[in-house]
């Protein structure tokens, strides 16, 4: 018996004539194509329906009072609110996330129980439902911290200033939610840096801290940037955590201080889709608002993916 024949007897066939393989390959290819089709259909429907109503006037007008009227409505206050809350969030989440990633990648011993607990906590934080973050923001930031601040500042009976929903509390809630995003992205980029670079720095007499701050961190900047962008992109579209912590159905003015409530793009999509008195009349601006939100989150995501792909390439080159 030839070797090939004995292989065939053992159940192996030559690739190409094997129907099971053709079928398997075909089904998995179809599944991949199906997922891409879902993505493309969603985007296409939104772009085709939203683009005609999207105009410079729509983006820069702030007649929020006529939010359901296609000729007058504009999303300017929502754009300002969403931008303000994500920028504020970045200020909190990026330093904390980057420092945690530095500890995990540069200082922590991989096998120590504490490191495993930190990693477990990061993973768990990433899996907490967004509505639970909303409850947490209400109970902790507004009820506990805000309530305490009010009591310290003005005594018990006065009108609450901090102990009510506001843009600061919404941003902090989102910062807690996006912490894992920043940690994971930063750590990935720290790992991509060639170990030789650190060793060279230490061999030249630099301390560990000097190595981290002057050699490792500058190299990791693109990764930190990616983490920040991904966090912003994730947070920009989130609605559930800000339902009770700061988003407003309607505001006559733009938020002027940290304790003001704000109008928000994502929440506005929810309002337009569910509260409109005449959904057919509202549809054009609804699609346009969704398109603005998608442009915001997708362009950010796209930039992050590009930077990340570049990091992965350099990682492969380094190892």
């Amino acid at each position: 018996m030839t070797p090939r024949a004995s292989l065939r007897e053992a159940g192996f066939r030559r690739a190409g004539v094997d129907h099971a393989s053709l079928l398997g390959g075909g089904v998995t290819l179809a599944a991949t194509a199906g997922i891409l089709a879902i993505l493309i259909v969603i985007l296409a429907v939104i772009v085709v329906n939203g683009a005609p109503s999207l105009s410079w006037r729509f983006i820069t007008t702030s007649t929020a009072r006529d939010m359901f009227d296609p000729d007058k409505a504009g999303v300017f206050p929502m754009l300002v609110g969403t931008s303000a809350r994500v920028i504020l969030m970045t200020l909190f989440v990026v330093p904390v996330g980057v420092i945690t990633a530095i500890y995990l990648s540069e200082y922590a011993r991989a096998a120590s129980p504490l490191t495993r607990i930190i990693r477990g906590a990061v993973n768990n934080l990433a899996g907490v439902p967004s509505i639970v973050f909303g409850l947490f923001g209400l109970g902790f930031f507004i009820g506990f911290i805000g309530g305490t601040l009010d009591e310290l500042a003005q005594g018990p009976a006065a009108e609450p200033r901090w102990g009510k929903p506001g843009i600061l509390w919404a941003s902090l809630t989102l910062a807690v939610m996006t912490l894992p995003v920043v940690i994971v992205a930063t750590e990935e980029s720290l790992r991509a840096i060639a170990p030789g670079l650190r060793e060279a720095s230490l061999a030249l007499g630099a301390t560990k801290f000097e190595t981290v701050t002057r050699v490792v961190l500058p190299q990791a900047l693109p990764g930190i940037l990616t983490g920040g962008i991904l966090a912003v992109s994730r947070a920009a579209g989130e609605v559930a955590p800000i339902l009770f912590t700061g988003a407003a159905y309607y505001m006559a003015t733009l938020p002027g201080s940290l304790t003001d409530q704000f109008m928000d793009l994502g929440y506005h999509v929810f309002v337009l889709s569910t509260q409109s008195p005449n959904i057919d009349q509202t549809k054009p601006i609804l699609f346009a608002t969704v398109l603005v939100l998608l442009l915001l989150t997708f362009s950010l995501n796209f930039v992050a993916i590009l930077i990340r792909a570049r990091i992965r390439r350099s990682q492969r080159a380094a190892h």
Binding site: T28, A121, V176, F270
Partner: protein
């Protein structure tokens, strides 16, 4: 050697002792402290969500419609503790209020009791504390019902807090999402990790993960405005054929949209698990004459199966915690039914829709936080399990265990 003053030796010692830099030492302590923030946050989340719901668990909530009334004249006869319990105030709130306000609250409470319509006052359920666990979990025959039923109806005069319909609603939408998303994602993961050309893979992976960039409110909008309209006719036709009732917004529409949200999660984790199977497994199979598909299906997939299982668990956790999609697309009727064409109400949607109307610190408010606590526990457990499975799998594949 004894001669410690030798310059060479002093220099040697200097090189060997670490230079003391108090600022750096401090900075490194700070780095360590900050790195604990994730642990602190998970702990605080549980603490503060559970804290608000604690009275539900300890039986400290009374949601009966008709309650014994103490007239304002009794103010001085009541002890402070009795007064606080009577008015249902927390310690902090109680401490914050002066006697004048407390008297006023007593008056308000007495007036509210006076205003209860007579037919409700006579209702057999009016004096029930509906926040007890037996009413939360077991069916009960409320006045006006023909049989015992599971009812979630917090905004009626007699507050009905049975959480069973909400759990069934959440599970129903989640199961639809898993049935739709898991086969699709796992098949795509097999294709991308095992069969696709490396160049194509580099392009496919981020493209599929782009799906994660669609905010859930946009997926909810898409389900509500586009999918529900397109699917309305086919769904009612299929439901009619099966002899089942159907509505425009239902568990199927919400579940499909939920599926969109969990596809990138399941795909990513499964793809990662499949990729972490050592190349030598595949090379061995190919060398024995197996086709690429056979190697993927019979060698790589079984080896990575725990990772695929973890992907499904994480998908489950994500789907059951998703809020905006189900809030917008599920129809939000809290009924007990396993029919996927029926309108359905999930735990998350209930919290999102009702918290704004709930009185701060009242029984409805505490009940919603209790739902949040249960949700946190469920997702925490599923995350923990998935984490454990992935960790074990990687250790095994890398030959560490």
């Amino acid at each position: 050697m004894g001669d410690s003053s030798s310059p060479a030796e002093a220099r040697w010692r200097q090189l060997n002792t670490r230079r003391r830099r108090p600022l750096e030492w401090l900075a490194e302590r700070v780095i360590f402290a900050v790195s604990l923030s994730a642990i602190v946050m998970v702990f605080l989340i549980f603490l503060f969500v559970a804290k608000e719901s604690l009275p539900v668990f300890t039986g400290g909530v009374d949601s009966a419609l008709v309650q014994p009334v103490r007239p304002v004249e009794d103010f001085d006869r009541l002890s402070r503790a009795e007064l606080q319990a009577y008015l249902g105030l927390s310690d902090a709130e109680f401490a914050r209020k002066d006697d004048e306000t407390l008297r006023l609250l007593m008056e308000v409470k007495a007036e509210a009791q006076d205003e209860i319509p007579a037919e409700f006052r006579e209702d057999k359920d009016a004096r029930l504390n509906t926040a007890q666990w037996r009413y939360l979990l077991l069916p009960y025959q409320w006045t006006g019902y023909d049989a015992p039923a599971f009812i979630w109806q917090p905004i009626s005069l007699i507050h009905k807090y049975n959480i069973v319909p909400l759990f069934i609603g959440s599970l129903k939408a989640t199961l639809v999402a898993l049935v739709f998303a898991v086969p699709l994602s796992v098949a795509a993961a097999i294709y991308v990790s095992q069969l696709a050309h490396p160049r194509l893979k580099e392009w496919l992976k981020p493209a599929i993960e782009m799906l994660a960039g669609i905010p859930s409110v946009v997926a909810g909008f898409f389900a509500l405005i586009v999918m529900a309209t397109v699917l309305e006719a086919p769904i009612s036709a299929v439901a009619g054929w099966l002899g089942l009732p159907s509505s425009r917004l239902n568990a199927l529409v919400a579940g499909l949209a939920l599926g969109f949200a969990i596809i990138p999660v399941v795909f990513s984790i499964a793809e990662d698990a499949l990729t972490s199977v050592p190349r030598s497994y595949v090379q061995g199979a190919l060398a024995l004459g197996a086709s690429k598909w056979k190697a993927a299906w019979q060698i790589v997939l079984p080896a990575a199966l725990p990772g695929v299982f973890a992907a499904v668990i994480l998908g489950f956790g994500r789907a059951i915690g998703e809020t905006m999609i189900v809030l917008m697309a599920s129809g939000n009727a809290s009924i007990v039914s396993w029919n996927i064409f029926d309108s359905t109400r999930t735990i998350t949607a209930t919290i999102a829709a009702e918290l704004a109307e709930a009185v701060f610190g009242g029984h409805h408010y505490r009940m919603l936080f209790m739902l949040g606590t249960l949700l946190f526990i469920v997702t925490f457990a599923s995350n923990f399990l998935a984490d454990l499975v992935i960790h074990r799998l990687k250790a095994r594949l890398e030959g560490r265990a």
